[in-house]
């Protein structure tokens, strides 16, 4: 298996134009490293689900290529997909079957799944998502959160190399979101690569090691979350009662984009050593209560990259 250097997911010029003429994904070059928790970030309608459908062989790309676990998709679906667990555009269940029977059916659909261990694996998956007690209930009686968890259980019926989760916390309450996120972290600890799409910046920031940002079908950037955030530089923050004097000194020291607040002054940090800046403040008699760099968030990075707020494209 050659996905080590190739990436667990690798797309080149991946493009999808729907039959209606809508260009949903436009020349996507994506590389998802093995072992990463990869956040696929973009506002609603930016092409995340369309990309995932192509990766899972559900739709044919208009042009370009997609490789998953080192094999071309959709051609190698039968070889690749048994090692991939997926939640795509929310869960879909047979309302007239129990939660357990839903999983038994999805497991039976996979011809590489051993029927002798089927019941045990279904029970383990139900246990993992905390649905053991509700396993005998008809799925139509499940709450949205339970359906979401049953969908996740279906993705966990086998040991997987890759989990593809399309907005897994959509429609959940904060408690449900926390549960799903901690489950994702657990799975990542087991060495499974997780590809997680979301339109929520803080979600990606909380759980992902890597991220890619989409707008209107195009990839804006991708890389390690730490590097992306570092790309947008942090802010120098000085807490002091003498804000006017502090601002004057900081300007002398080359700090740009100064913002003076009630009891703090912030600005873009200069190239020079920050120790010298601090010394200059003290020498000028500014009473410094706090001095430091505030780390840039992914949101800062996004705003810097696109020059706009995040939730714009409805």
């Amino acid at each position: 298996m050659d996905e080590g250097n190739d990436g667990v997911i690798r797309t080149r010029g991946l493009t999808k134009r729907y039959r209606g003429g809508q260009l949903a994904v436009d020349g996507l070059d994506l590389t998802v490293p093995a072992g990463s928790v990869f956040g696929f970030l973009g506002p609603n309608g930016s092409g995340k689900t369309t990309t995932i459908r192509m990766l899972m062989g559900l739709i044919e790309p208009t042009s370009g290529t997609a490789r998953v676990l080192g094999h071309a998709m959709p051609r190698s679906s039968r070889a690749v997909l048994p090692r991939v667990g997926a939640l795509i555009e929310g869960p879909a269940l047979y309302g007239y079957l129990t939660g357990r029977d839903n999983l038994l059916r999805y497991d039976a659909a996979d011809s590489t799944a051993d029927p002798r261990t089927r019941r045990a694996r279904v029970a383990a998956a139900l246990d993992r998502v905390g649905l053991t007690a509700a396993a005998g209930k008809k799925a139509k009686a499940y709450s949205l959160g339970m359906k979401q968890r049953l969908g996740l259980a279906a993705a966990l019926l086998q040991p997987r190399r890759l989990l593809v989760l399309d907005e897994p916390t959509n429609g959940l309450d904060p408690q449900g979101m926390r549960e799903i996120r901690s489950l994702i972290r657990e799975l990542a600890c087991d060495g499974t690569t997780v590809f997680l799409s979301s339109h929520l910046l803080d979600e990606i920031e909380q759980v992902c090691t890597h991220a890619a940002v989409m707008t209107q079908g195009r990839l804006v950037t991708q890389g390690a979350v730490a590097e992306l955030a570092a790309g947008a530089r942090g802010r120098l923050v000085v807490t002091t009662p003498d804000t006017g004097e502090a601002a004057r000194v900081l300007k002398e020291q080359g700090v740009g984009d100064l913002v003076v607040g009630e009891d703090r002054v912030t600005g873009d940090p200069p190239e020079r050593d920050l120790a010298e800046v601090n010394a200059a403040l003290v020498t000028a008699g500014v009473r410094v209560r706090g001095f430091g760099l505030e780390r840039a968030s992914l949101e800062d990075a996004f705003v810097a990259l696109t020059g706009e707020g995040f939730d714009v494209a409805g």
């Binding site: 090692r83 555009e89 038994l104 059916r105 039976a108 659909a109 590489t112 060495g191």
Partner: protein
């Protein structure tokens, strides 16, 4: 490479039938399927009771008669076994194919409608394998539905009427055991008569993401074809309508059996299954699944 890789699985070829088993179990446990079978089981009861009330004075209708009503109905009072033939003749034009149209039309479109189709495909079920499992299940339904009618009719016939030797259409007499054998053969032929429609319904099912639309279209096609088959001016195309030779099963009650219509019927069903099965396959394996 990684931990997961060590769990090497060597799938057995038999595991591939897990999907078919799941499909059968899911279909036949479904309330809707049971309701359809219940309606089919009720038809022979209604016919049997009606004939019984009608002839309550014990008078037996004239032999071989019956200008009106389904074939064989006049003979039921002499022999309950004829209720099997009557019930099949009564349900074949509409009730049986309608039930098949519901099952076949919903096969793919219903799964697309609920979104379960995408999860079956990423499981991965394989598109060809899923389609085969769906068609096989529909064919099993054709057989089960026909047998439900036949068994219900035989039970009602045995309860309400005498059983015994019977007279064929040709006027010769055959024993009850042979009559029973012919009834089974007729049930199989009736089930086979429905396989062309089943393929047509499956094809329709790959065209839409709405189960209701696919069912309605299939049943609509059935009604249209049944009407076209009645219009004398259209006799040139009628031999190609899937229902044209359906009632030829009655020829199994002749002595000797007339095979002509029976063979034509089975050929036509095979043709429909091949054409629409291929069309369904071509459509489904190339289709973008976005539902």
């Amino acid at each position: 490479m990684s931990r997961a890789e060590t769990a090497v699985r060597t799938p057995s070829p038999l595991w591939t039938f897990g999907l078919l088993r799941s499909e059968l179990a899911t279909t036949f446990r479904r309330w809707r399927t049971l309701a359809l079978l219940g309606v089919l089981a009720a038809v022979p009861v209604l016919v049997g009771v009606a004939v019984r009330i009608e002839t309550g004075d014990g008078s037996s209708p004239a032999h071989g008669g019956g200008g009106d009503g389904p074939a064989f109905i006049a003979q039921i009072t002499n022999n309950g076994l004829f209720l099997v033939f009557t019930a099949l003749a009564a349900t074949l034009p509409f009730f049986l194919p309608m039930a098949v149209g519901v099952i076949a039309g919903d096969a793919i479109a219903g799964e697309a409608n609920t979104g379960t189709l995408r999860y079956l495909l990423v499981a991965p079920a394989g598109r060809t394998r899923l389609l085969l499992a769906k068609y096989a299940t529909t064919m099993v339904f054709c057989l089960v539905a026909t047998l439900v009618v036949a068994v219900s009719a035989l039970t009602v016939g045995a309860l309400l009427f005498p059983l015994g030797d019977l007279t064929t259409i040709s006027g010769t007499r055959i024993g009850f055991a042979e009559g029973l054998g012919r009834a089974l053969l007729i049930a199989l032929v009736v089930a086979a008569s429905l396989t062309g429609l089943a393929a047509l319904g499956l094809f329709v099912s790959t065209l839409t993401n709405s189960g209701i639309a696919a069912m309605a279209t299939t049943v609509g096609l059935l009604i249209t074809v049944q009407i076209l088959d009645q219009i004398p001016q259209l006799h040139a195309i009628q031999p190609y309508l899937f229902s044209h030779y359906w009632l030829s099963f009655a020829d199994l009650m002749r002595e000797p059996v007339h095979w002509d219509g029976l063979v034509k019927n089975l050929q036509l069903q095979t043709l429909y299954a091949a054409v629409f099965g291929s069309a369904a396959w071509a459509r489904f394996t190339a289709k973008d699944i976005t539902a």
